[in-house]
């Protein structure tokens, strides 16, 4: 515990600015992944334990596209689309087979996919960690606000993640597609009875959720090292976010991501050894006092 250090930091604008932005950076990538988890859960009532692997595949795909094209933007877009399509296949050929069965059966299918994709990554790209390096467009000196330091790439990352999140929210809340999806989330058979092919919508939702993970992987690729199993730790954090925000709530995922991001950035100064513990503590407290999460609707059964 070093609360003095935390007080000292909060006392200087430069430290506040730097830590606030680093909290946002961590939070926004997490948000992209968690929003996919929460979307899929909200509509399909399925917890996708393989979401971390989709993030990993997104990062590796972006790396490969970047080697081929040399353009970061094309690579990021390509990775998101590729992972989205992979998500559709995953849903159609594997997950849809275990809808309605035990949660544990779904868990098992996801676990198998995690194992297989980790090993395939190792076979295709090798066990050595890879690094994409900063794309030329972003090799700029860091910007300064109020004495705090913010790298330009991270500004791009935050803005991109927020824009994707906003777009997602608009699609779900404002479009015909979104209406059907929300209706299907409440009562799938009823929507099906109206002559709408619900299965297609399920696959589409899974695809969108996967594409979000792919985009997160692509955004992370320039700054994080690519290794088999890299989706592991991010998965558990995205569950924390999903639970705190409320399963099925995109707004909740957004708020919870920022909470976790800030806990990490300020926690590393104030209580560096117990940052992970505090994240789980927050999750436990939310579950004890408001099991449906900060923004979740009470979930019956």
């Amino acid at each position: 515990m070093d609360l003095d250090a935390l007080m000292r930091c909060v006392g200087t604008t430069s430290c506040i600015v730097t830590q606030l932005t680093s909290g946002m950076i961590i939070g926004m990538l997490l948000f992209l992944i968690a929003s996919g988890v929460t979307l899929i859960f909200g509509v399909l009532n399925v917890i996708n334990f393989a979401h971390g692997s989709l993030y990993m595949i997104g990062a590796y795909a972006a790396w490969t596209f970047y080697q081929l094209t040399g353009s970061y933007f094309i690579s990021a877009l390509g990775a998101a689309v590729a992972v989205g399509m992979l998500g559709v296949l995953f849903e159609r050929f594997l997950m849809s087979k275990v809808y309605g069965s035990n949660v544990l059966m779904q868990l098992l299918v996801c676990y198998a996919v995690v194992l297989i994709s980790d090993d395939l990554i190792k076979i295709i790209w090798g066990p050595v960690s890879l690094s994409m390096g900063m794309p030329v467009e972003f090799r700029l000196p860091p910007l300064r606000f109020f004495g705090g330091v913010v790298p330009p790439f991270y500004i791009f990352m935050i803005v991109a993640a927020m824009a994707i999140g906003l777009l997602l929210w608009l699609v779900i809340a404002r479009t015909r597609f979104g209406n059907i999806v929300r209706a299907a989330a409440v009562n799938g058979p009823m929507v099906s009875a109206l002559g709408i092919r619900v299965n297609l919508y399920y696959a589409a939702v899974f695809g969108i959720g996967s594409a979000l993970a792919g985009a997160a992987g692509a955004l992370a690729a320039p700054v994080r090292s690519l290794t088999p199993g890299m989706g592991f730790s991010i998965l558990i954090e995205s569950f924390i976010v999903t639970v705190i925000g409320g399963m099925g709530s995109i707004v909740g995922a957004f708020v919870a991501s920022i909470i976790i991001g800030l806990t990490r950035s300020f926690g590393s100064i104030g209580f560096p050894l117990f940052v992970d513990g505090v994240m789980f503590l927050i999750m436990a407290l939310v579950l004890i006092f408001k099991p449906s999460g900060l923004f979740g609707r009470p979930h019956n059964k």
């Binding site: 730097t18 830590q19 066990p127 690094s131 000196p141 860091p142 700054v223 088999p228 730790s233 590393s268």
Partner: protein, 423 residues
């Protein structure tokens, strides 16, 4: 269904379960292979899956180059050496289980333990019980061999030892600190046993050699943490003159990439003991000036013909670049071969341990071309330790300075006393 009814089926289910259990146990058990009088079997528990799979891959590579050559030239007294490699997946209890199986089930007579540290401690306990020859080829944690409480007569180490690196590195860092006036230091190392002890020891000896050095900030990211932004900004806020980091592998690459965004390396000198490895240094795309890296394995250290040939041969036969783990395992394999030659192929643990104790072998990885298995505590000494300046392209390191061993021996003695390891 009435309760009596269900109880009857319940019993039947138990019987069925027990039957299935027994059948599975008998049929599925991998065939018990008796130690064939032909080959000498060497078991290698290591990590082949997950994030540190590269450790297993390059360790096995280091072993293969030696044993393949021995087998090509007729083996030991005509007997071939057979490697049996097993994945423990990085879990210590699996490492213990796998090691026992290698000995009891596969008939391995010798163990080369290519586990990471916590696995190595678990393997050590198995060896304590079974008593075969074991060489820990990757664990750098000092206490494994330095602490007499953990001592096992037939267990040795051919890996670097943390305290040696710390003394050599501290000496080098102090010289640069004096020359450049680096007084305020920050540290950034992974939060686990290796990272903590390595960093504490390095800073202790840096201070020992230069009294002006003080640590103003410590940061401890988690092992395998994907994002280092919060620790980068924390180090940045400390406004130190220099930084020490014991991060390694992909974690180190990610840290450097992320720290680059903040221009961290332009503002301070940085010492990173694990930067020198292939797979790390050649992954970093941008290198600022003044990043110092510890020696791991590099084809130009030492700049001899033997070393370049070894590198070429390794890459040609194993299809990947060697790492620090490769040379450590190369030495382990050579020691085993030498010992077997001396015992005429006898694989008895005690006999092999007797000849390995104090053994010196010729190798380019040693200072002056040889390394020694110190008899006093069963650990390797006189291997090349040092620091140089990192480059972002071949040969990746410049101005490499090899640490002399005399002061290391001297300070190590004092350190052991202080830890209560020696009187």
């Amino acid at each position: 269904m009435s309760s009596i009814d269900s109880r009857r089926t319940g019993r039947r289910q138990i019987l069925k379960g027990a039957g299935a259990l027994a059948t599975a146990g008998v049929i599925g058990m991998p065939a018990i292979v008796k130690g064939q009088s032909g080959a000498i079997k060497i078991g290698v528990p290591t990590i082949l899956s997950g994030r540190v799979a590269v450790l297993g891959q390059t360790s096995v590579g280091g072993l293969k180059v030696v044993f393949d050559k021995v087998n090509e030239t007729g083996g030991i007294n005509g007997r071939k050496i057979e490697l049996v490699v097993r994945d423990s997946k990085g879990a210590p209890q699996e490492a213990a289980k796998v090691t026992r199986d290698l000995i009891n089930n596969d008939g391995c007579q010798i163990i080369i333990d290519a586990e990471a540290s916590s696995g190595a401690f678990a393997v050590q306990e198995v060896i304590r019980e079974i008593g075969v020859l074991c060489i820990h080829s990757n664990s750098e944690t000092s206490s494994l061999t330095a602490d007499p409480k953990l001592h096992v007569p037939t267990a040795f180490r051919t890996a670097r030892q943390g305290i040696h690196d710390a003394i050599g590195g501290g000496d080098y860092a102090a010289k640069i600190a004096k020359a450049k006036g680096l007084k305020k230091w920050a540290t950034c190392s992974p939060d686990y046993a290796y990272g903590r002890s390595n960093t504490a020891e390095f800073m202790e000896y840096a201070k020992h050699f230069d009294g002006n050095i003080q640590v103003v900030e410590e940061s401890w990211p988690k092992l395998f943490q994907p994002d280092y932004t919060e620790v980068v900004t924390k180090v940045l806020n400390a406004k130190a003159d220099a930084m020490y980091s014991a991060l390694w592998g992909g974690d180190l690459v990610a840290f450097i990439d992320q720290a680059n965004l903040y221009g961290l390396f332009d503002k301070q000198a940085s010492f990173m003991v694990n930067l020198g490895d292939y797979g790390v240094v050649d992954q970093v795309k941008q290198f600022p000036q003044g990043v110092y890296s510890g020696g791991r394995y590099n084809r130009t250290v030492p700049p001899t013909k033997e070393n370049e040939e070894w590198y070429q041969n390794y890459v040609k036969t194993q299809k990947h670049k060697p790492t620090n783990w490769s040379w450590e395992n190369d030495v382990a394999a050579q020691m085993v071969v030498e010992a077997l030659k001396k015992t005429n192929g006898d694989t008895n643990g005690k006999k092999l341990a007797e000849v390995i104790k104090g053994m010196t072998i010729k190798t380019q990885f040693g200072v002056g071309g040889s390394v020694t298995m110190r008899a006093e505590d069963n650990t390797l000494v006189n291997y090349i330790i040092g620091y140089g300046v990192s480059l972002s392209k071949e040969p990746y390191i410049a101005d490499f300075q090899t640490s002399p061993w005399e002061p290391i021996y001297e300070l190590e003695k004092q350190w052991k006393k202080k830890q209560g390891y020696a009187s």
